[in-house]
Symmetry: C2
Subunit: 430 residues, 2 copies
Amino acid sequence: MPGPRKVLIIGGGFAGLACAQKLANDSRFAVTLIDRRNHHLFQPLLYQVATASLAAPDIARSLRGVLASAANVTVLLDDITTIDCDTHTARSADNTYPFDSLVLATGAHTSFFGKDEWASHTVGLKSLEDAQTIRRRVLTGLERAECSADPDERRRLMTVVIVGGGPTGVELAGAFSDLVRRALKADFRRINPADLRILLVQSGDRILKPFQPDLSDYARQRLEDLGVEICLEARVDEVESGRVHLDTGRWIEAATIIWAAGVQASDLTACLPGERDRGGRLLVSPALSIPGHPDLFAAGDIVSVPGPDGEPVPGLAPAASQMGRHIAAVLREDQRLATTRYARRKSEFRAAFRYRDKGIMAIIGKNCAVAQAGRLKMRGILAWAAWLFIHLLFLIGFRNKLAVLLQWGWAYLVDKPGARVITGHDDKVA
Amino acid sequence: MPGPRKVLIIGGGFAGLACAQKLANDSRFAVTLIDRRNHHLFQPLLYQVATASLAAPDIARSLRGVLASAANVTVLLDDITTIDCDTHTARSADNTYPFDSLVLATGAHTSFFGKDEWASHTVGLKSLEDAQTIRRRVLTGLERAECSADPDERRRLMTVVIVGGGPTGVELAGAFSDLVRRALKADFRRINPADLRILLVQSGDRILKPFQPDLSDYARQRLEDLGVEICLEARVDEVESGRVHLDTGRWIEAATIIWAAGVQASDLTACLPGERDRGGRLLVSPALSIPGHPDLFAAGDIVSVPGPDGEPVPGLAPAASQMGRHIAAVLREDQRLATTRYARRKSEFRAAFRYRDKGIMAIIGKNCAVAQAGRLKMRGILAWAAWLFIHLLFLIGFRNKLAVLLQWGWAYLVDKPGARVITGHDDKVA
């Protein structure tokens, strides 16, 4: 009798973790989950760490902790650098990991559309470190403005440019506005923190493009009420230290430049065969494996797979989780068939992934959000309540839910977010 | 009529903050509080951030937030580099701050007894960054041990040396033991986290020297029950990257070396006139000013002043707070007398600082602590409960109290501390 099937999952985000959880304690599998980080990160709340509402551990949970009771799952902290699909091995600097089946779920990173030199002048929002860097830059900017007597310098220190008008950009802009207009209201003596200039730069003709146009308009109006300047149909064509240039012809001096404009599939996708789309995402079969390679699976933000409406499945947490679970189901069904005469033709019998669209939502500020699911549209306080409820519901770990609920309740009642703490050093704050 | 008296407080720790709070909304004073950090740090709980029990923002609070309602207090984030006592000005790289009265409360930093090159191989425990570095090193050590096949390397990765057997060292040792023996019990597949070797190196013949000998013995026994190796009468005489040498003649290989052996008064004390003790602490008058300089005050860990028993007042948070409040009282009394004929002789009429010793305590592990106050001694679960209660009581900010209470309750019930999240990068983990 053969040993358990060696499943190697690379990446502990929504897709990788869901897959591991679905294979937990199934003794037909020996699962190894490898991530560069020791924690699963609840990215939908990452902007709240950046805007000083939540502490980093509130939205992260140790991967080992989540999978402690899964006896057949080994969690390793390692940085896989290459995958050899012929010999079925993955390699890091120090170790080699053989596998029978691979699940690549390494997600996406910030993309600068080929201008990688812009990375050093801007901050993305993909990791806890990014979030802490954004928090540090904005809070330090205000601190320096309070100390400065030069009005031009103050203005620069109190300017935040957010490039990208998707949900991340909108949520950051709204939360920073809430921060300076509510929480920090009484804190400064020389500057008015509400003078913080927040610019949201969007290349298209409206923000929140995945939403219906009327919800986009609503979000734009609400953000403008909150004091956010929205630059539509404007592209960033140059970034230098402390300033950006828009193709509409003006330079903007800003101490904080946040890049929320685009993502690109993780570099490890290059190790896998097959075609990919413009964003580097792998074109996978309906069962989420690489065509012609039934043992190589990919899930989450690194794959391009059509949804029920023919459009590619969006890069959202629920989609990634669904893909992870689907791959686990396929692997289990493969094992069931392995002892039958269908074994060799397993890929033909595999179920196709079917994306269940639960809708999309974005929070704009206190008491205000937009949401749509199918033909249902919501906005204002009802959408806001739904946003809070759903994010709490899906946040991993009871302790995290409780901690976040406490912080939100507190912030709502007294308008004082609790995480206004600058940590770390940042040479780049000029 | 003259304007308000310009009081410059440097340092927002226990002493500086208490002084500012006591002068709040007294219109006779224009107070400026300057700190290099934007937050007040509750240092007695710092070891819990290092041992992954609490998140950084749980034990820190924005100085601006604390002093928001104090209209006569301006909080500035700046790094004072020099003080000119003749012209009554303090200077940072960019700014000059004139003052009528100075309150220096910049605290102590880790001291290596002249071996400053050891700093790069060890971590102290004075700031949130230090705590996060310790957490990262220990957790990363375990992660690398799980990946490693070499038993010597595993042993090195799973060794933590704590230099210094005072309360900080004891609390760290006990908390790390709890972490690996309880919280991480089920998390690893290849290593047993309880094999983490924790060495506590103490130069004297007992740990917790400020305590009664029987409490020291009790603490030692309890730590040994928790698996901590205690090396008494051992001095570190060499530190290299990844190993320390004891004067008892052996090298210890360790991925994490924590330095909790000594502190030294902040470098800014050198700008003030007068004598100082061996630790660089200023010898101040009974009213906490520099002898002969009635407008230069100093408080907290940078001063040496005799307590009621003739011994110097210890470097503890309550002592620092008491000093800060005393200076504020002296300043207010000076102002009251300023309009009388005693004005010129004010320093003669000043009240002497009287340290009210509330006792000392140290936590050893779950359900176990030692405490003494005067002739009262406590140990075990009662002392532990008292420790928790008192630390919650004095933790600044209702939100922080609530957050810490929640985390402690959760950790007590399910043995799973919530902050097991590695953030930041650390090139020095070999």
